[in-house]
């Protein structure tokens, strides 16, 4: 296997991209989960799907545009979609989540129409939906690298406003401008991350990749910093493990990665429950000096 990775180009790109995605997804996923936007990632990935479908249709009817990879049109749709979601959510500030099914359903509708136009209910489409190792090219790899740099740059530069806005929008006293800029940048970056992740695990499983590692990380972490660290470790494990297994057994890449992530999630929950029940059966010493001091 290791030999293959070193020798076969697409495998090498798949692994390197996978390792980078294992950083990108949880780093952005932490903020997505904590800002209660998990469904938004799903909405965006479906927008991306409709973009890919549009790209496929375009290739069929305007063959001279062959050089435009449908994937990039997907990326474009995902970014545009994110800009529709935000104003719609503003219209219903207390029921933000119901905007998502509207976007989701419309995006699926659009995708199916474009796919039928492209006459593309075939194997290619399956790759886009559930991910495939063979689709990862040198360019794709470079795109992931660029997105990695953008994501890390953004999170490092905007860490402070991102964190306080996520924790407590009202009490944090961030200026309106700062808040808007951070929000818009964040949404665009989510769209970028969705599109690149899509290439490996497929449209339908993108949001799982952003959410499940973080869900595991939050179970174990004792502080905000630890959430990042644990989530990245889990994501790397899921992706690399999933890639290896899917290659060995010739299973669907995206499916294998997500199933592995889920199984591990169950194991984490189980371990946590066991540890808790063990520590509960021990006598606990309460500190008695609860002094009130202001």
């Amino acid at each position: 296997m290791l030999q293959d990775i070193l020798q076969v180009d697409f495998l090498r790109y798949a692994f390197l991209s996978g390792i980078m995605i294992g950083i990108i997804c949880p780093v952005i996923g932490v903020f997505i989960v904590l800002r209660k936007m998990s469904l938004m990632a799903d909405g965006m990935s479906h927008m991306a799907l409709s973009g890919i479908a549009a790209g496929l249709a375009l290739q069929r009817y305007l063959p001279f545009l062959y050089f435009i990879n449908p994937f990039y049109i997907g990326m474009l749709f995902s970014v545009l979609g994110s800009f529709c979601i935000r104003p719609l959510m503003k219209l219903y500030p207390f029921y933000r989540e119901f905007v998502i099914p509207i976007i989701l359903a419309s995006a699926i509708g659009l995708s199916v129409v474009f796919i039928s136009l492209a006459d593309a209910f075939n194997k290619d489409l399956f790759g886009y939906l559930f991910g495939s190792l063979i689709t990862i090219s040198h360019t794709d790899f470079l795109v992931v690298l660029i997105v990695l740099v953008i994501v890390l740059g953004f999170v490092i530069l905007c860490y402070k406003p991102l964190l306080i806005l996520t924790f407590d929008e009202e009490g944090s006293l961030v200026s309106k401008r700062g808040k808007q800029v951070t929000d818009i940048l964040f949404t665009m970056i989510v769209a970028l991350v969705v599109s690149v992740t899509m290439n490996i695990v497929g449209v339908l499983l993108v949001s799982a990749m952003m959410i499940i590692p973080v869900a595991k990380g939050m179970q174990l972490a004792k502080s905000f910093k630890q959430v990042f660290i644990y989530s990245i470790i889990f994501a790397e494990f899921d992706i690399i493990g999933g890639l290896v297994v899917s290659y060995q057994f010739n299973w669907s890449t995206g499916g294998t990665i997500v199933v592995l992530a889920f199984v591990l999630f169950m194991i984490v929950l189980l371990i946590k429950k066991t540890v808790q029940s063990i520590s509960r059966s021990k006598p606990v010493s309460y500190s008695s000096d609860e002094t009130v001091k202001f």
């Binding site: 306080i164 924790f167 407590d168 009202e170 006293l173 202001f294």
Partner: protein, 252 residues
């Protein structure tokens, strides 16, 4: 002697949600180091007024000046410490420690490239000590009681070393002992020449501690000296709260 610029200055401020007027023609100021208590019945517009001062809402008429500058030009938000009414307005499942939460009070005044270093950590510890929560630094914020959370949020407001501290009903859900401790803390802050705007329903306590009382119900029904307020208390409260104000007031 030079005339000090007031910390806060409101001139003819009016505000309505959609078409419903909530504040009408509000005029008052806070001097440096002044302790001002704001009272008024539920729904009288206290929280709304504070949100206007903080720039979270925009007044329909009139002008708000912070430290002599109109709100639109005021950039030093870090000079203000704010504890909101709903301490549970924060994301309560958030996996952050008490220490991390108090650190966030410093974030908005730090440049993005500034590293959170030793100096900053020290400030956080000091703020935690002031509110007596240093033993809880490593605890998850979601696992604290309401009163303890409230103290952490006060620490988050204090850590920025503000010049104006705005507290919206900070003692709700705090037991009597902690409430006394809280007022001791506020008084010591007051002695350090920190300007404070405190919203409370506890009229008795307020009037015994503050330099100035504001009694709000859409308009300012009283604005001035607490002794004067105490003397005409019945009239002012009937005026502001309506005939049945006693139902709303806590007795001590």
């Amino acid at each position: 002697m030079t005339i000090k610029t007031p910390v806060l200055d409101l001139e003819n401020v009016s505000f309505s949600y959609d078409r419903k007027p909530v504040l009408e023609d509000i005029n008052f100021g806070i001097e440096p180091g002044e302790f001002v208590g704001l009272v008024g019945p539920n729904g009288s517009g206290k929280t709304t007024l504070i949100k206007i001062i903080l720039g979270l809402l925009k007044a329909n008429h009139g002008e708000v000046r912070l430290f002599g500058q109109p709100l639109s030009k005021f950039k030093k938000l870090s000079w203000i410490g704010y504890v909101s009414q709903k301490s549970n307005s924060f994301n309560s499942g958030f996996p952050a420690t008490v220490f991390e939460v108090v650190s966030m009070g410093l974030y908005s005044q730090m440049k993005f490239y500034k590293w959170f270093g030793k100096k900053e950590r020290l400030k956080v510890w000091e703020a935690l000590e002031k509110v007596g929560m240093e033993d809880y630094a490593k605890q998850n914020i979601g696992r604290l009681s309401g009163g303890q959370q409230q103290r952490v949020f006060i620490a988050r407001a204090l850590v920025r070393n503000p010049k104006l501290l705005i507290l919206d009903e900070p003692t709700v859900g705090v037991d009597a002992k902690s409430e006394n401790a809280f007022y001791d803390l506020i008084e010591s802050m007051h002695k350090e020449k920190l300007a404070i705007l405190l919203v409370s329903h506890d009229i008795g306590t307020i009037t015994s501690k503050v330099d100035k009382v504001l009694c709000l119900n859409k308009r300012l029904h009283y604005h001035g000296d607490p002794k004067q307020f105490e003397m005409n208390r019945q009239e002012i409260l009937t005026d502001a709260y309506g005939q049945h104000f006693e139902l709303l007031e806590h007795h001590h």
